[in-house]
Symmetry: D2
Subunit: 313 residues, 4 copies
């Protein structure tokens, strides 16, 4: 590339304005002309839109972090309802908290002044803390009642089949992630299922249960293998990120689209903070993929992305 | 507080929805019912609105980071134009880049693929990199031409007086932070002014210049002393944060409102990441203050706050 | 507490010196008199020493992150060999890389200049990148050969039993974590086992395998229940952290000692960055526990802690 | 580069051991064979050693963060005493705290249990908090007594000349950074001097003071210009980092060696977290420079680097 070519390819930064006509789509378009994480967020919105518009694209969604307790359950529900997610990979914690809310229990706001209460006092009040969100410990009793009366049809079914069964048992609810996945036939994978309060209750009450984690793993590889076009959106990182990526690694078509919303960074070498470019070296993300990593709290970025998709798709 | 009182004070987390009627004000209201940084951002919006609504409130704004190069110049300009800032404390870098844009030069987008160019090649092309934003080195020549022909009225004026003079010399421009501050009589303090390309050019061409930094410091203390109600918004951290806070420390009225948007954290002990509560121990922030620290990239949070204020104030 | 009492309890910061007599134990003692993460690291060293000295203490060790690829395999091996770990909870990735090294394969240093090679080129060279560490893809072939010839005695054994069996099959090696755990009867729990290259190979070659993850979970709860005194050291966070903590939650004796080495922070609300104090609200860490979270790259902190223990225990 | 050449250049990761013969030099040598921040720290040690060994190298040291309050005053003192620093650029805060300690006042350890005291209570006790370090507010009275009786020889001297004068007025002390700099003729630059408690006291008591910040800036440029070989070590970031780098930018010889110890990261676009490679695009760091950025708390990394230098130089 000659110097002149290089310089002509560069666009001027957009010193944009917000005015009375601004809406989410014009804001995102404006941010696309800036830099740093504003541009990355705008790019993530555009890429996700393309994933939705591309009818051949299988959309994998990795969900880590305490997104249900903090108030993002309804947004995730609507991602699924609107068809923005085809395969959900998540943590046992999000499933546990989803059941709690679905059964009518609630997470609570630790307001700025109340968060000053010591963790020792919270323990005395049987109140579990998730940063500034509280969960009364008695929620576990409700989950236990629900779990103990389940008539599990097959002790060796996969985790994803079990979660579909579970969704069918849950009451109607306009926010339940497990329920809407069951209704929309969106499989939920949860590779670290036994790392959760839900699994503990299951284990205590159904001692013969031996859900087949290996079959889940192979099912996921098959889904990835069959995807003509694969698009990935990672919230947080952790096991959901790696599980989606390991399935891509051995496929004929690695990911064509990749988005990650995280506060983790690459320097300490962990997978959660690894760049999406690093995933190219492994063949998990295609070398021609469109991708964007947004360094942002998902509680801010996720609603904005949804809002954009809802307007545009 | 009895257990019952404590529990009754707690509100349920809001599992909110986004729909076709959502606008920025309803979104922020929804986020106020959640947790983590979404709630903190919503709280920051509310606090800033209260700062604007409270006619006695003197609004101090600390601006660090490369906000002008990245495309936030127009937003900061409008913060000032709308009267949301009474006192601006910033870095020499933001002023240097503001002059560059005001003189008609532009920062450039390093697009995702182009950012792969090596820094060594960029240097050969005389292109300076600020993360994914580029600035052609020749911009300095334009600044030099402007600076060299200045007839500075007083070599020992304060930095803030000099910046007002500078604003008056700059051409009309709908984004220039220095210009709008001069027009609106918003003083700009820049304690580390000599740590900038602008000051270097001034020093090279005006060797007798000895702007009185100490008088700036005392002027700032007087402004803080006289403020009946003080409200603070910090973008980033650094010298602007400390300079505003040190002025509050010895005042009869420490800050009544305090907002910080930053990616820095408290654990390594630096001031940029210090919590606003820590500032209470110093008497910089009032113990009854409303405050919110948002861990977010300012390129995402600042436009959202402005958008909210523009609708609500 | 009266003002006087409060002030008298405070110790002066130690403006320490390093000289020719300094060794790791005197350095750690000096850092204990400082603040920020130096003090936290020194405290972590002291707490771990107390865990080792206390013969009733069951030492749980949670290991996330790419610690084996980066060169910490020998240190972790020695933690186990010296008896500093009683129960290991780790990721499938660390186990996969441990087998690779044990079978005679090597991870490679991407030197500062070589790391400039693009991920696309690395993919062409079949070289997988883990930040600045590379792993040739052909390593998987060696793992496959090893895995395919295994005669697994029981398809429904627990993951921890399987890992013991695996350790017995591995060749002698002075660094192998799986091998030394088998030899020293240190159980390895891996709740997200199917999230790994090792499990993929197992799944491909042993299609009837259905390792019993639920029994692992219940075994872990029993171990935690029986521990008279529990001490926890967490490297990174992730599933290993949560799995240890969930086992503590329902025990008569929650953790008496707790250490975490991590670069994650609490503000985004994820479990990896949650403070050890938060764990007190859940009853996972005892309210009288000695604890220290060190915000540090484990590749720096872990060798220092081991060095200190080796000298002191 | 052919595939074979590329692969042959790569070294195996060193799965090192720590044993009874390990000392700081052998540990650093071992870490050099690993990756992530352990390798970067080892590289920083090696580079700094080369800076000291190279008699033509002018060693610039940028010191931000609360390093004096936290207990690193003695280490920084010894860096200067041993000749490891030729030019010091720091913050007004570090100078203020250095004077406090030199006058016999002390910073205090907020122990883990005491740090639970609320900031509101600390304020009532006139105790200022710097993360987990406390400073009694009365320290300011001691500084005021010292500052008020100064007979400043020239109101328009540079900040660096003033700091040399100040060092001469301070009592003998085996830790004072300002004192040892005066004795060893190591100039101290402090571009944001008026952003400090020290400057506030000076301003209140010496109203005619107008230290010439511009001349400091030009002096620094001259020193950088004259340096045959320039080596840079940055602790933290902030104004000290930028001030050193801006002086390098217009010099015939940009930096040959560059080290940064920081917890800041590049993604939000601020200068503190910018990579040393980015500085190459600006011509601040030479394209052939040896450099290492260590993502670490300086309270851990700085003593290790000093310990290594003390043994090796």
């Amino acid at each position: 590339m000659t110097d002149k070519d290089f310089k002509e390819k560069l666009k001027e930064i957009n010193q944009f304005k917000i005015n009375k006509d601004t809406d989410i789509t014009s804001l995102i378009k404006s941010l696309l002309g800036t830099g740093f994480n504003a541009k990355r967020l705008a790019l993530a919105c555009e890429i996700y839109k393309e994933m939705v518009d591309n009818k051949d694209c299988v959309k994998f969604f990795g969900l880590a972090g305490a997104m249900v307790p903090v108030g993002m359950q309804g947004i995730i529900y609507d991602f699924i309802k609107e068809g923005y997610i085809d395969i959900l990979v998540t943590t046992g914690a999000n499933l546990t908290h989803d059941i709690a809310e679905t059964l009518g229990y609630h997470h609570l706001q630790g307001s700025v002044s109340i968060s000053d209460i010591s963790d020792i006092d919270l323990h005395k009040q049987e109140m579990n803390r998730i940063y500034d969100v509280f969960m009364p410990n008695k929620v576990y009793e409700g989950i236990e009642d629900f779990v103990s009366q389940l008539k599990i049809p097959d002790n060796e079914m996969t985790v994803s089949s079990f979660l579909k069964y579970l969704g069918e048992q849950l009451p109607e609810n306009s926010n339940s992630v497990i329920k809407i996945c069951a209704e929309k036939n969106v499989p939920i994978f949860c590779p670290a299922f036994t790392d959760s309060g839900l699994a503990l209750q299951l284990g205590f009450h159904h001692q013969k249960l031996n859900l087949n984690h290996f079959k889940d793993m192979l099912d996921m590889v098959n889904i990835a293998w069959d995807a003509k076009i694969a698009g990935i959106c990672i919230i947080g990182g952790g096991v959901p990120k790696n599980f989606i990526f390991q399935s891509m690694q051995f496929c004929p078509n690695s990911a064509t689209y990749a988005i990650q919303i995280t506060m983790d960074r690459p320097e300490p070498g962990g997978l959660s903070g690894a760049t999406l470019r690093e995933a190219m070296s492994w063949g998990k993300v295609n070398e021609k993929a469109k991708y964007s990593t947004v360094i942002a709290d998902a509680t801010i970025a996720l609603p904005l992305i949804f809002w954009y998709l809802k307007k545009m798709c």
